[in-house]
């Protein structure tokens, strides 16, 4: 199988769709049409490829982790999205969406951000293309990710705190959608994950598929074949879908790693919020519950609809790790490989470390979706 075009209904099995206020329906339809035409246009693709190589620094390397492999007892490779410009995989999607927004005649980007990685990437693309940019960020996250807030402002973006609800990523999405409802005529909503209303889950996946296609080629060259396991952290799930897309038609096992306090696939049931039907943490009346994770980027009660579909059909499975396991893994990778991971991909490392016995003898590819500089201040507090 390959990951499919979800068609006009935007469905991945039972999941996905377009559950948005009527005001936004024409904008989502226009975005879908524009993306279809741009994605089939060699001029657009060439321009995006040029930005990905000359500006973002792609292709990102594949790194063999000898000391970590020795410690864990099986072979570990990292796909180094942390080495992209702005420090995470988020730039792949944002460059695509900003180019598309410009092609659609939009002059302003609005974005939500959790850890600030998508916000920084959006602010960067806006600066590059001379667009206005406003980023909504939960008040709690503004505190724990002060460095990224400063970076966004330095790049010329306006950072607006989301002060309702849990004051984290979920509420930043609400605020960004409210902004878009009011500004849809000149504004593109630069959504940061494989979530939201159709066409976002599909479009964002396509912009991140470059991770998987590069990694597959690199594995063929370096391993002479496919890894046994491909793993990535999952909040909304964009970096995971990006790398899974390159291996979904192989025998590799696909494993998403969720934070135990925000495990939508692991602990949620199907629901509808933020424009999509997907697994969702909710109470007995359908009120969305707050997620709790040490990682601001994964602190989200939902998940992209294609992950719900992959879980339902059994093509991917989803593990959970605790904050404490993540803190251990953050230090483990730093100490053994000289790579300080972001707290988000540290979830994937945490799973490898915990389940090392079950993984013995296998070759595991991890999507190292972002670097840890942004988390250092927070970890100084945690580790004392």
């Amino acid at each position: 199988m390959a990951l499919a075009d979800p068609g006009p209904s935007g469905r991945f099995g039972d999941y996905g769709g377009r559950f948005v206020p009527e005001t936004l329906v024409p904008a989502c339809q226009e975005l879908e049409r524009s993306f279809r035409s741009a994605w089939a246009d060699p001029v657009f693709r060439t321009e995006l490829d040029r930005l990905l190589s000359d500006y973002a620094g792609r292709p990102s390397p594949l790194t063999e982790c000898e000391r970590l492999s020795d410690e864990l007892g099986f072979r570990v490779l990292l796909k180094r999205e942390d080495l992209n410009h702005t420090g995470s995989h988020k730039i792949n999607n944002v460059l695509g969406q900003a180019l598309l927004a410009r092609r659609m005649g939009k002059t302003r980007l609005v974005a939500e951000t959790g850890a600030g990685q998508h916000g920084v990437a959006s602010a960067t693309a806006a600066a590059l293309m001379g667009m206005e940019c406003r980023v909504y960020m939960g008040e709690v996250d503004i505190e724990r990710q002060a460095l990224n807030v400063f970076r966004m402002r330095l790049l010329g973006a306006e950072v607006v705190p989301a002060t309702s609800g849990s004051r984290t990523l979920k509420d930043a999405v609400n605020e960004a959608m409210r902004d878009w409802v009011a500004t849809v005529e000149d504004t593109h909503y630069c959504l940061g994950s494989v979530m939201g209303p159709h066409p976002y889950p599909w479009m964002v996946r396509e912009f991140h598929a470059v991770i998987g296609s590069e990694a597959r080629e690199q594995c063929e060259r370096h391993l002479g074949g496919m890894p046994d396991v491909v793993t990535a952290c999952v909040g909304g799930g964009s970096n995971a879908i990006g790398i899974f897309s390159g291996f979904v038609d192989t025998d590799a096992e696909l494993v998403g790693v969720e934070p135990a306090g925000g495990a939508a696939v692991g602990r949620g049931i199907p629901g509808v919020v933020h424009g999509m039907r997907s697994y969702l943490l909710q109470d007995e009346f359908g009120q969305v519950q707050e997620a709790h994770s040490i990682s601001a980027g994964l602190d989200y009660p939902g998940v992209g609809p294609e992950h719900s579909h992959l879980a339902t059909i059994g093509r991917a499975r989803y593990e959970q790790v605790t904050d404490d396991e993540v803190i251990e893994a953050f230090q483990l990778l730093s100490r053994t490989e000289g790579i300080i991971p972001a707290l988000e991909p540290a979830h994937a490392i945490a799973w490898l470390s915990r389940d090392r016995e079950a993984l013995a003898g296998r070759t595991v590819l991890v999507n190292m979706s972002g670097r840890g500089d942004k988390d250092v201040a927070q970890m100084m507090d945690v580790l004392g």
Partner: protein, 274 residues
């Protein structure tokens, strides 16, 4: 995309009442209240009775949802406070069942509340509580099929929203599926008061009146009697939400809400007489 059933041919209780009011030469007034929002000991059902007595033709009752993306700060705050005080969809419907206010009621909530309970059960609970209609602002035409089928079967009217961004060919399709009334979204933005009436309100009302004979009510951004009168020069009526709820949140109670709703009623009636 699942199949979207045609709307029932006959109007339900809400649409019948609104059509009758319009046919009698009246401009229609539908206040919005957040269900379960009790401030300073003034029970929300008392506020409901007071706005009915002040001249509401129907009332929209919000069932609070954790993530109200179509709502501005006032209704967000009201929703949050109602949820914190323990209000649930079933507790609100239970209270409505006993309210017997004498005008049709429409529930406004977000789709996950209905989806989570199950379409058939939610529709049955509404009907059982005497609620005539449902408004689900995050359930656009393309996605309305499964809910509409259950609502139609239970005799619950599904109000459809029509927005200024809709191209001309979309409006008749939306109106065709609407029952109760057509909810004209007055402006680009979320619910909340505005200093002046948006010109988009008049424009969307006129575009809708040109394609449907169902009652066309404008909501979102209608803030006072003057704005209500102005938009009703084109529309059949108005929905007034945040301006009412702000007064409830401020502790003005049933009397304050009734004063305000009554002032709009009087202005609308006076505009007809002239």
């Amino acid at each position: 995309m699942s199949e979207i059933p045609a709307a029932p041919a006959a109007p339900g209780a809400l649409e019948a009442a609104l059509r009758a009011g319009r046919d009698a030469g009246r401009k229609l007034l539908v206040p919005y209240l957040t269900g379960g929002l009790t401030v300073d000991g003034d029970h929300w059902l008392e506020v409901l009775r007071a706005v009915v007595d002040a001249g509401a033709d129907a009332v929209e009752i919000g069932i609070p949802f954790s993530d109200p993306v179509m709502d501005g700060p006032i209704i967000q705050e009201a929703s949050e406070r109602a949820l914190q005080s323990g209000a649930t969809p079933l507790s609100i419907l239970d209270e409505l069942r006993r309210a017997d206010v004498g005008v049709p009621l429409a529930v406004m909530t977000y789709y996950n509340v209905a989806y989570h309970m199950g379409h058939e059960r939610f529709a049955a609970e509404l009907a059982d509580a005497g609620v005539a209609a449902a408004i689900l602002p995050d359930l656009p035409f393309e996605e309305v099929g499964p809910w509409a089928a259950a609502a139609d079967a239970a005799g619950v009217e599904t109000v459809m929203l029509a927005a200024p961004t809709a191209p001309d060919d979309r409006l008749p399709v939306v109106c065709e599926r609407a029952r109760g009334f057509v909810y004209a979204v007055g402006l680009l933005g979320v619910t909340g008061e505005r200093a002046a009436l948006a010109t988009s309100s008049l424009k969307i009302a006129a575009r809708l009146k040109a394609v449907t004979d169902k009652p066309v009510l404008v909501g979102v951004g209608i803030s006072d009697a003057d704005q209500a009168v102005e938009v009703c020069s084109v529309a059949d009526g108005v929905i007034v939400g945040s301006a009412v709820v702000r007064r409830v949140l401020a502790g003005e109670g049933p009397a304050g809400a009734a004063d305000f709703v009554g002032s709009i009623r009087a202005a609308l009636d006076a505009s007809i007489d002239q």
